[in-house]
């Protein structure tokens, strides 16, 4: 499956705003809502991404067709990384471990912002490092 890169950036921008709001309000429920937003495409594929759907309905009709498309697999992997961080964040805030919530949300915010502002997929880059660390351990 191929994605419109502008849709990926659009989704990362909304994610950045939501995660900043989580930190400012300290709302574990908002973190949980963002975790659900990550969980849908992570578990069931990119077509079920809520922010992606928003892009297709509201933004895409106003733009021309994309100049290039992007493979869905790396983006889906990054949604899974986001899911892990936001679940930890929601658990931290809702379970009374506010510091844990703040740290996990801060990491997710940094990754979402790098994607939104620079088109840089931190979750995807990490994949190579993880593979390397695994190799080092078994070597």
């Amino acid at each position: 499956m191929q994605l419109d890169p502008r849709g990926v950036r659009f989704a990362a921008t909304i994610t950045t705003v939501v995660l900043a709001l989580v930190l400012i309000t300290g709302s574990g429920w908002l973190a949980l809502a963002q975790a659900v937003v990550f969980a849908l495409p992570s578990l069931f594929g990119m077509r079920l991404s809520p922010y992606g759907a928003l892009f297709r309905v509201l933004v895409r009709p106003r733009l021309g067709p994309p100049a290039e498309t992007e493979d869905a697999a790396p983006v889906r992997f990054s949604q899974t990384v986001g899911l892990v961080f936001t679940i930890v964040a929601a658990a931290g805030y809702l379970g009374g471990l506010t510091a844990l919530g703040v740290v996990a949300t801060a990491f997710a915010l940094a990754a979402a912002f790098l994607n939104a502002a620079f088109g840089f997929c931190l979750g995807c880059e990490m994949y190579g490092l993880i593979a390397r660390a695994r190799g080092a351990r078994t070597a």
Binding site: G26, A73, A106, L109, A117, Y127, L129
Partner: protein, 143 residues
Amino acid sequence: MSVTGLIVVLVVLAAASVVGVLLRARNGRIVTTAGRVTPGWELAGLAPQADDRVLLLQLSSPICTPCRQTAAQLTELSGTRDGLRHVEVDIAERPEVARTLDVMRTPTTVAFARDGRELLRVSGVPRRRELLEALDSELTCAR
């Protein structure tokens, strides 16, 4: 409303901006690494043929959009330029290649001369014209 939260937001955005600018500046830039001798051809599973001058060993991972752009570009380049070989290895399958060459990011492309000397490295999608210019002397050297 959490003041601490607001401060964290501002610090994270500032730090991520610095990282983003640095990564963008590094992406695709050629770093000359002449002098190191590493078994590039061996890692690629190749012995240089009579006409081979330069090996571009591309380290990729399966989850990596720029790796695919890099692969397409280097495949095209090696098809049009004599003496240039391109081999892509997946470091998820062969992590020892990343370890031997001390590579942290994908895609990273390492260029080797036929005698095994390392010439240069590029992380991110290489800039085509700059790469060809940097390899020109090695590609056109006496056969």
